[in-house]
């Protein structure tokens, strides 16, 4: 059986700076892949490329056997300045990616500052399913009971944790076939981290395949089937669950024994 997501020799970055090079990544059906690596090494850029926010420079992205990027040469600077669908096709279309069921919950997204929680949740499913009905409109509140009380609050009045909850809830309402969670616990208090970790466990328990980025190896070890160690713009190692070392060892491996 072919993999759910197959990324082949993907390179990309922000013109003219290349951020990652020749990345191969596979996520099996029903699996949870962890992505771990130091800050600033390109994890988020890689994920933004996979979800189509930025065009890949080369390589392929296949989701459930369907190629998400338009194959071909990277455009020259001149033609990329133009944006005519008719004349010059974008190599990636984030709408197409999301509607295929590959849902990316971005890192620390401010979401829609002036939209209330209820309004945001109301457009989430329609957006990804091209107008389809959500399977369970109560899902956000079963995952995050706290959101229920904040229904009428605008996103800009939410705390960082609540906003993260809302972002994940939106992702789940889109009925994802693969959910990308980019550091869902970034910058949160220990109590909130636990709460969000529980939610991620619940989502995992429901059988949703996930690509999970986090800085907490312990958290990753509990959840993922494989851990991809990302450093200096490429995946340096893929560790099966049983071989994932503890945080200290992994950090020492990456940075040398500092302590």
């Amino acid at each position: 059986m072919s993999a759910l997501l197959k990324v082949e020799r993907l390179s990309g970055g922000y013109e003219p700076v290349q951020i990652f090079k020749d990345v191969d990544l596979e996520v099996e059906h029903g699996a949870c892949a962890g992505l771990f690596g130091p800050n600033g090494h390109g994890k988020t850029t890689l994920l933004r490329t996979i979800s189509g926010l930025i065009d890949p420079w080369s390589g392929n992205i296949l989701f459930d056997g369907v190629q998400l990027n338009t194959p071909g040469e990277r455009r020259t600077r001149r033609s990329r300045n133009l944006n005519y669908d008719i004349l010059v096709r974008r190599r990636m279309d984030p709408k197409k990616v999301a509607r295929a069921g590959l849902i990316h919950v971005a890192q620390g997204s401010p979401l829609f500052p002036e939209l209330t929680v209820a309004e945001t949740l109301s457009i989430a499913p329609a957006a990804a399913r091209g107008g389809g009905r959500p399977s369970d409109p109560e899902l956000p509140f079963t995952l995050f009971p706290q959101l229920k009380e904040r229904r009428q609050s605008k996103a800009r009045f939410l705390s960082g944790g609540e906003r993260q909850m809302l972002a994940i809830a939106c992702g789940m309402l889109a009925a994802p076939r693969l959910l990308i969670l980019d550091e869902p616990t970034l910058g949160l208090s220990p109590k909130l981290r636990l709460e969000l970790a529980d939610a991620v466990h619940a989502i995992r328990g429901a059988g949703v395949p996930i690509i999970l980025v986090d800085q907490d190896v312990g958290f990753l070890r509990d959840l993922v089937d494989k851990l991809h160690v990302f450093d200096h713009g490429s995946i340096s190692r893929v560790l099966p669950r049983a071989d994932i070392p503890d945080h200290e060892t992994l950090m020492a491996d990456l940075f040398g024994k500092a302590h």
């Binding site: 829609f112 109301s122 457009i123």
Partner: protein, 295 residues
């Protein structure tokens, strides 16, 4: 100043205010959603008026005032979307999009204005009003056409507010305006929403043109002055909410009416622009604004 004068000043301010609210709506929604300033907005006003004249007036197709207005607004929606496709979308991902679209929309304005000139000629025209005569209510004497305009604009503004706040499409437009990337990740069709936003702005501008064409005279450059006023309105009000430019529109309308009476017609634009500069210095996010782009 006696009471009847005061009433007639306020009345004229109200009539100006509703027009400015219509015009500022389109400018503001395009600015917040696409992040560009549309200099062709004034030409949209003129185009809407000429289309309504063509469809509605007895001298042309003669379908009547209302049919003419509806057809003109619908046509302006399509024209707006096409203008966005041709003049804005090619530069969507360019980092100098704001400056580039200043040039392209100015070019668009020139082209549309000259097309109007070629098709309908430079002679002043007027759309036959829906209603003739005057409404008298105590001390208030109002031309029926103005009363119709105020009523229709009030309904239109409420409908637009309802659309933006309550319908999935309106909410999606606001979402795209507030965070384009998050909207893309949710699978919203950002390009389609941009085209619809531009079309909606053009349609509302066209409606403003229909009213201006029926209470004043129309010429191919009739949109230039309203565009300036709408700019003042948007800057004065800020774009924090849909309603902030509506409030500012009425404020500008009333100020303009008073200034025309006391300062005179010729100095009124100077008064308004002076006020605008003052607001830019003291409260750059607008009188009703927050330091943030959104609808």
């Amino acid at each position: 100043m006696d009471l009847p004068t005061l009433i007639s000043i306020l009345q004229s301010g109200l009539a100006l205010g509703v027009l400015y609210a219509l015009m500022a709506f389109g400018l503001a929604i395009v600015w917040t959603t696409l992040g560009i300033f549309n200099f062709a907005h004034g030409a949209f006003i003129a185009a809407g008026a000429y289309l309504a004249w063509q469809f509605g007036n007895a001298a042309a197709f003669g379908l009547g005032y209302w049919a003419g207005a509806v057809l003109a607004v619908a046509a302006m929606f399509v024209i707006g979307a096409v203008v966005q496709l041709l003049l804005v979308r090619p530069f969507e991902r360019h980092r100098d999009i704001v400056l580039l679209t200043v040039i392209t929309t100015l070019a668009g304005a020139t082209i549309i204005t000259n097309l109007l000139n070629v098709i309908w000629g430079p002679r002043m025209k007027q759309i036959e009003p829906a209603l003739d005569g005057e409404i008298v209510f105590g001390l208030v004497h109002m031309r029926s056409q103005e009363a119709v305009m105020i009523a229709v604009v009030a309904v239109t503004l409420f409908a637009l507010g309802w659309f933006l706040l309550r319908t999935p499409l309106g909410r999606s437009m606001r979402a795209v305006a507030q965070n384009r990337e998050a909207a893309q990740l949710m699978g919203l069709d950002v390009r389609l929403l941009y085209a619809l936003t531009f079309g909606l702005a053009a349609a509302v501008a066209g409606l403003a043109g229909v009213f201006i064409g029926s209470i004043r005279f129309m010429s191919p450059t009739m949109g230039d002055d309203p565009l300036q006023k709408a700019l003042v309105v948007v800057i004065l009000g800020g774009v924090a909410r849909f309603t902030s430019s509506v409030y500012a529109a009425f404020a500008v309308g009333i100020i303009e009416a008073f200034s025309t009476y006391f300062v005179g017609l010729y100095w009124t634009p100077a008064v308004l622009f002076g006020l605008m500069i003052l607001v830019l210095i003291v409260k750059p996010e607008g009188l009703f604004g927050r330091r943030q782009r959104s609808v």
